[in-house]
Subunit: 454 residues, 2 copies
Amino acid sequence: MAQLLIIGGSDAGISAALRAREIDRSVNVTVVVADSFPNFSICGLPFYVSGEVPDWRRLAHRTVDEIEREGIRLLLGHMATAIDPAQKTVEVVNTGGQKQTLSYDRLVIATGVAPIHPPVVGLDLPGVYLLHTMEDSFQVHHHVAERNPQTAIIIGAGYIGLEMADAFRHRGLQVALIVRSEVLRTTVDASLARVVEDELRRHDVEVAKRVDVESIQRDGSRLMVSGSNGFRKGADLVLMAVGVRPSSELAARAGISTGARGAIRVNREMATNIPDIYAAGDCVETWHQITQKYTYLPLGTTAHKQGRIAGENAVGGHRQFLGSLGTQVVKVFDLAVARTGLREEEARNAGFDPLTSESKTWDHKAYYPNARELLIRVRGDRRSGRLLGAQIVGHWQAQVAKRIDIFAAALFHEMKVDDLNDLDLSYTPPVSSPWDPVQMSVQDWAKSKERASD
Amino acid sequence: MAQLLIIGGSDAGISAALRAREIDRSVNVTVVVADSFPNFSICGLPFYVSGEVPDWRRLAHRTVDEIEREGIRLLLGHMATAIDPAQKTVEVVNTGGQKQTLSYDRLVIATGVAPIHPPVVGLDLPGVYLLHTMEDSFQVHHHVAERNPQTAIIIGAGYIGLEMADAFRHRGLQVALIVRSEVLRTTVDASLARVVEDELRRHDVEVAKRVDVESIQRDGSRLMVSGSNGFRKGADLVLMAVGVRPSSELAARAGISTGARGAIRVNREMATNIPDIYAAGDCVETWHQITQKYTYLPLGTTAHKQGRIAGENAVGGHRQFLGSLGTQVVKVFDLAVARTGLREEEARNAGFDPLTSESKTWDHKAYYPNARELLIRVRGDRRSGRLLGAQIVGHWQAQVAKRIDIFAAALFHEMKVDDLNDLDLSYTPPVSSPWDPVQMSVQDWAKSKERASD
């Protein structure tokens, strides 16, 4: 009976395990899980800290029981320390220091990410946190729930940074958000980033831009954060959220090739350069469907897809990962901020001639109560008319997320901007318009193009 | 300077006018409008009657001023009575009985629909209403607002029937809904129709099925509705909503061919069989993208698309109408009921071998507050795996409408059911799951297919 070994018990690892068992009930699947929390929704951590999810156990996509019921063996509290591709074994060590050697016929590496530790003095001080693992979230949660902090500083405005600003405000803390860049968010265009910044300020989040944090020091019972340009600010709690890097050292030591940002190289079947070793999720390079190049773009949705494909192929399949479009959405207070496809610079670098329009529309017929304004940016190639990307900012209950998905489906099929008018989309006054906002925005793009060529 | 004449000032007619002027600023456009309400959102009438839209003027997609500002001449209160294709003229008569003959170079017929008058005695009694025109809605609104009715009977459970049940309940009336069929809604499958029926009863709407209404009689100050199987029920107000038929007599008298249900025959460029005469909207046959056949499927979204294409082609374009998928959504109290693609029987008639799965999923991660259950039915062809249709019922604020649009985009591209797993859809816990409900439901379909072939 074939042995499938999987290193990593988060999105990609468990997806691979489930898919392998779904296809081949005879395969033995073992998942090596570093902590005791397999298949937890890491994207849900901010909502546990905010108190919106009262019980952390609910963050599990599936319980240990549910996973084991699928015939999957979980080795909890075990770190993989070495892969021997010649012997087809993996060395693991448990929390008590005991070593064990596991053999495999096929291996899936799904080791995820590690947080970036910037060169800042004082990262190890009590009261300075990351939010990357369940253990991290227990610590932050404990601090907020038990020690009654009044003020928090968040360093970094990635998804975690933004969501934690919301979460801390939900807990009643005063919050300052510190970013290095000129604009708040680099994943959406500047005009939309400004809307996000306004939303933060509207909810009394102080935003400090162009600040390079240099040190964190104790200051009585508080922490003092210092940075470039004379920045100094005290708080009871500091959260570092400056990003992640692929956890690929284990793979690299075994001779597996790495590429962009140090991520593991895989082909479209999620196979590494070493026979019988697959890799998936946040630790691998991601094929981009539009640029037709590998990049580094770690996202939970992609991890699930890649894990499923790795699991299918590890038991004999040949399914291909068709690529990421970088589709993503984040909720920041009342706003959803969504994007898919290429940004201006990415489009230019990929050889396109991007033209971008910005539209303001109602999410549904304005005569029906509670119509919300949507800001939609559409990007297309001036020469071919091909859709290259879209971004939407609007009230999070105004179907922003699934509207960006209509664009994502159009990108998937390499549609021209103008052709989105042919899509037969649904309408009733409380939820849309006879031309959906998606279509009104592509009609605006066509007008921009005409004006630009006049 | 070319003369474009358009008969009909609703969705298709005004869309044609606007598009023609957008493309060719030199064309003279005249729109013959039977009443004084061009470009009104007829889909919004129930929300005016309910009181949710306090001022009927807000139902205008555009005001008369806004339309005229685009260089479009509106001939309000004029009925077209005859088309002479040889002379290229149209005879119109105004409300005062004065006749006028208008000449055209190109003509667009957008005469919409007429309500079906079933063979029921007493349709002309005071207190018996249709809801088809602005004038109808003023009458119903007046009755409800001024005459303090306590009870209403609605005959027919099409969109207007369902929305009016909601509207009358909103006004505090007791409501009974009478339908001829065994199931409440024939546009969605029986299991979803039952959910709609439950929602109506939950909001104290009495539902009477398998009743053929035969007569309406005065009964003191009330109306008595009688029907098959000894049905008798009294009410202060009766609304007939048993459906519509294409308004095609004017065209037929001019020698224009008609087809399904008497609708005007057009080709994919929205041209009729007579040179220089186009037609669009609810009065024409609709090309169905999946069956690749003409059918009758009047929808506001389709009317806008066809009108835009007719307008573009009337000034020299050659754009094709790519077809309808029958995508539609209706809000019934707290539910959205959405569908796209083929129903079981339609699929079978089109030569497919349909297999349908039904899934129950949360609209977003259940740990985040206010998760709502979605019921999703996926229909695919057993042999080819091709997606044929989908239906969703769930809370109207759970992105039901734009989720059906993801299916609609997939249908547009003739995707296989399984391939929807490759779509890069957006996710954050408050709005979705790492696999969107759309994708979870297609995974269930694949499992159904395996079970069915075991």
